[in-house]
């Protein structure tokens, strides 16, 4: 392998690793809050649809798939969904909403399953959709990276794909190692953190989709997460100090 070959592998590896870490973050977040079966099924479904799209379109993918439109759609949904979670977490932290009541939630889930579509008692559709979208969009970006680096010269496609696969394997191993310690974190803290991450991802993706040129590129995601965390904690403190809760509203919180 020549020096330029190594550079292509390394460039594809690093670029793909960034996207894979972003997908892993969402899969871990959904796994911790909505269950691992839901999260992994969503990720598997996202990967399967992605594989079908990539195999069907091949190199024409870059021209055909409207990545900006997908970023706006998925980004907006994650943004709104993340805002809902953070709002609930703030209400819980300030005593305005009940903490998790497993028995009541189970009863509500059973009632919902009797009314609407479902594939099993422990599969949460919301978590499935979030995990699916995260893996599909990030995977699509990896496919774009592989095709872009691979189009540089003859034979570069294999090198580019090698870099992407290596990044995926490494990130998957990291995910398998870190998921267990994360399960010890209190549930409301996890939901707070997940909501904040979803808002950060949502803002970033939707912004990219509508044409915002983020100065710090992908580094903007952790910066947005830090900003939103600071704002959320300030809101919690402000509400606790200035507007004391009259009582808990609603016994069940998802």
């Amino acid at each position: 392998m020549s020096g330029s070959d190594l550079l292509i592998v390394l460039a594809a590896f690093l670029a793909s690793a960034v996207e894979a870490v972003e997908a892993l973050t969402i899969v871990l977040a959904v796994g911790l809050t909505n269950g691992w079966r839901t999260s992994l099924l969503g990720a598997a479904a996202g990967s399967a649809v992605l594989a079908i799209v990539v195999i069907a379109l091949g190199p024409a993918l870059v021209r055909i798939v409207p990545i900006e439109g997908l970023q706006v759609l998925i980004g907006a949904l994650l943004l709104i969904f993340g805002l809902q979670w953070v709002r609930k977490a703030i209400l819980r932290a300030t005593g305005r909403k009940g903490l998790h009541d497993e028995a009541a939630i189970f009863a509500a889930e059973v009632a919902a399953l009797r009314q609407g579509p479902g594939v099993g008692p422990d599969l949460d559709w919301t978590g499935f959709v979030v995990s699916f979208k995260g893996v599909f969009l990030e995977g699509l970006e990896v496919a774009f990276i592989v095709l872009t680096f691979g189009a540089n010269r003859d034979g570069a496609f294999g090198l580019s794909a090698l870099g992407a696969v290596a990044a995926f394997v490494l990130v998957a191993i990291v995910g398998a190692v870190v998921h267990r310690p994360l399960t010890r974190v209190p549930e409301n803290t996890i939901k707070f953190s997940v909501g904040l991450m979803l808002i950060a991802f949502g803002t970033f993706w939707a912004g990219e989709g509508i044409g915002v040129e983020w100065t710090l590129q992908d580094w903007m995601i952790p910066l947005l997460a830090i900003l939103y965390t600071g704002v959320a904690f300030t809101l919690v403190q402000w509400l606790k100090r200035n507007i004391p809760a009259k009582g808990v509203v609603g016994g069940v919180s998802a």
């Binding site: 805002l83 609407g116 579509p117 919301t126 808002i199 509508i210």
Partner: protein, 65 residues
């Protein structure tokens, strides 16, 4: 019909949930972002998006005693 209603309810819960302010704020954030980008104000767009998100979150919370 039951599945159509269930499907519609799922997406309503996903997008609107407990507070319609969040859905409206999310859409307003994107509209403002599009307008700024189309006007060539890229830096303003970069700043406006997180500011609008923060304002949306604050507006959805109970701010009165």
């Amino acid at each position: 019909m039951r599945y159509v209603v269930g499907f519609g309810r799922f997406w309503y819960d996903f997008i609107v949930g407990d507070s319609i302010v969040l859905a409206l704020g999310g859409v307003a954030t994107l509209v403002v972002g599009v307008l700024l980008v189309r006007a060539g104000a890229h830096l303003a767009g970069e700043v406006a998006l997180p500011v609008m998100v923060v304002a949306t979150l604050a507006a959805s919370l109970p701010m009165r005693r």
